[in-house]
């Protein structure tokens, strides 16, 4: 396409019609289950502390705000206030994420189910995917993080180190420049992205669950040998569609994780962000036992449309926005 055509949408109208139809089905799906649709602020005082998430910051005369990277914190405040089951579909923003499966501004479907653990929520995620994309219907497969790595990469991710990970990639012809060192979780992410995840979900939905405790994010950690994070991800045709947690409810542990994130940001020389004190207050009031998940709606539309790139399902991707 020439430069002059830059005003045009990149998605076809057939795909945009499919997208609208899927949004309708989504509303019906949650309506039938009695899950309340909510809206929360896109601009907030607190940002995501996770060092792998880069927030857009907006400055005005009254100070700084962050465009949310997910609606997780305010939705959890609703849950702490007694909302019961809630969901929303909203635009979220992640700086520097652009590629075949990433647009810096994208649509997330996020929902929380009170009384669910991650196993029960995985089943509901499978039902939602099968409802919106009938071509991937069928019995899902459930694999622990450890089993997935053992099956596809031949290593035990709970007992490995940087040297072993580098070797697994080297044997496969994926070398990393000497100057680009990762920590163990970074190496596992690399093996996941290069070897394990691309192999998942070619017949049906595959869930990977029980992550290393060091990758817990906002999931609760189940004690054991080793302890594991009650976190899951869903894959179809090698693409990650959703990430969910049996939600951490302990305000003290949540504060420690925020502080650890900020410390890592400081070490990595990343921008510091304001941690969400209101979330910590809400957790302190008592938080219901629940599980929550975020699902990438654009990728779900890609799947339904058989699209190769995210720009095929978005009217105006970032470089045309």
């Amino acid at each position: 396409m020439t430069q002059d055509e830059g005003w045009r949408p990149t998605a076809s109208f057939d795909v945009l019609r499919l997208r609208a139809q899927m949004l309708k089905q989504l509303r019906a799906f949650f309506d039938a289950r009695g899950v309340l649709e909510v809206e929360t602020p896109a601009l907030s005082r607190a940002g995501a502390t996770d060092r792998h998430l880069a927030s857009f910051r907006i400055d005005d005369a009254h100070g700084s705000r962050y465009l949310h990277t997910s609606p997780e914190y305010p939705m959890k405040r609703l849950l702490a206030a007694g909302s019961g089951d809630i969901w929303q579909a909203c635009k979220v923003f992640r700086a520097d994420e652009a590629g075949r499966f990433h647009n810096p501004e994208f649509t997330l479907i996020e929902w929380y189910r009170v009384g669910f653990d991650h196993h029960r929520l995985m089943r509901e995620v499978a039902e939602l995917i099968a409802t919106l994309v009938p071509s991937v219907a069928g019995e899902p497969e459930y694999l622990t993080y450890r089993a997935a790595f053992q099956r596809y990469a031949g290593i035990n991710p709970m007992q490995t180190d940087a040297v072993a990970c580098r070797e697994v990639l080297r044997i496969r012809g994926n070398e990393v420049p000497a100057a680009h060192a990762f920590d163990t979780d970074g190496w596992l992410d690399l093996i996941a992205g290069e070897i394990v995840y691309p192999a998942l979900g070619h017949k049906h939905v595959v869930f990977v669950y029980d992550f290393p405790a060091s990758q817990a994010a906002l999931a609760r950690v189940r004690p054991g040998e080793p302890p594991v994070a009650e976190r899951f991800e869903a894959f179809v045709r090698g693409v990650e569609l959703a990430n969910g947690f049996h939600e951490l409810a302990d305000p003290g542990e949540q504060r420690r994780r925020f502080e650890r994130d900020l410390e890592r940001r400081r070490i990595d020389n990343l921008p510091m962000v304001t941690m969400d004190e209101q979330l910590l207050q809400a957790l302190g009031q008592g938080f219901p036992d629940c599980a929550g998940v975020a699902l990438g709606f654009d990728r779900l539309v890609m799947l339904a449309a058989g699209a190769e790139a995210i720009e095929d399902v978005i009217a105006f991707p970032f470089d045309r926005a």
Partner: protein, 189 residues
Amino acid sequence: MASYSTSEFKAGLKIIIDGDPYNIIENEFVKPGKGQAFNRVKIRNLRTGKVLDRNMKSGETVEAADVIEMDVQYLYSDGQFWHFMNPENYEQIAADATAMGDAPQWLKGEEECKIMLWNGKPLAVTAPVFAILKVTETDPGLRGDTATGGTKPAKLETGATVRVPLFINEGELIKVDTRTATYAARAKE
């Protein structure tokens, strides 16, 4: 020194990795779930021609490779170096056997070649796509056999050997595709 961030990566960019100059062939942004983002790049080593897959941490920067390509005219070889001239300023450039690669077997003199320079030094020389060369040695052809598609080896005036159709005889000129080192057609003087 110029450098590129992984977010600027695109096909055709020349970068330095582990001390060698590379050309980016493909670039893909990959980010598993909540984890570390990285770029999956397919790159060609401009010294050796080898194609590799590499993973780089997103947000890191890599040094830009000062690589330029220009058209030059082949002059002569002194046995150790091959000498070329830049027709724009008449400057002479000498390339060694490593930079020449397979190119010498297609060169007689005065051909327009492409030379790639890294920090001003020859990295690779590419011969013209087609070379017109005389057959100096080949088995006698089978008379009348022009249709069966059989081939035989033929030695050319530059020392190169290519497979030619059976009807080609010693002393004839042929056109060779230097990219694939294959016979393309009969040629006239």
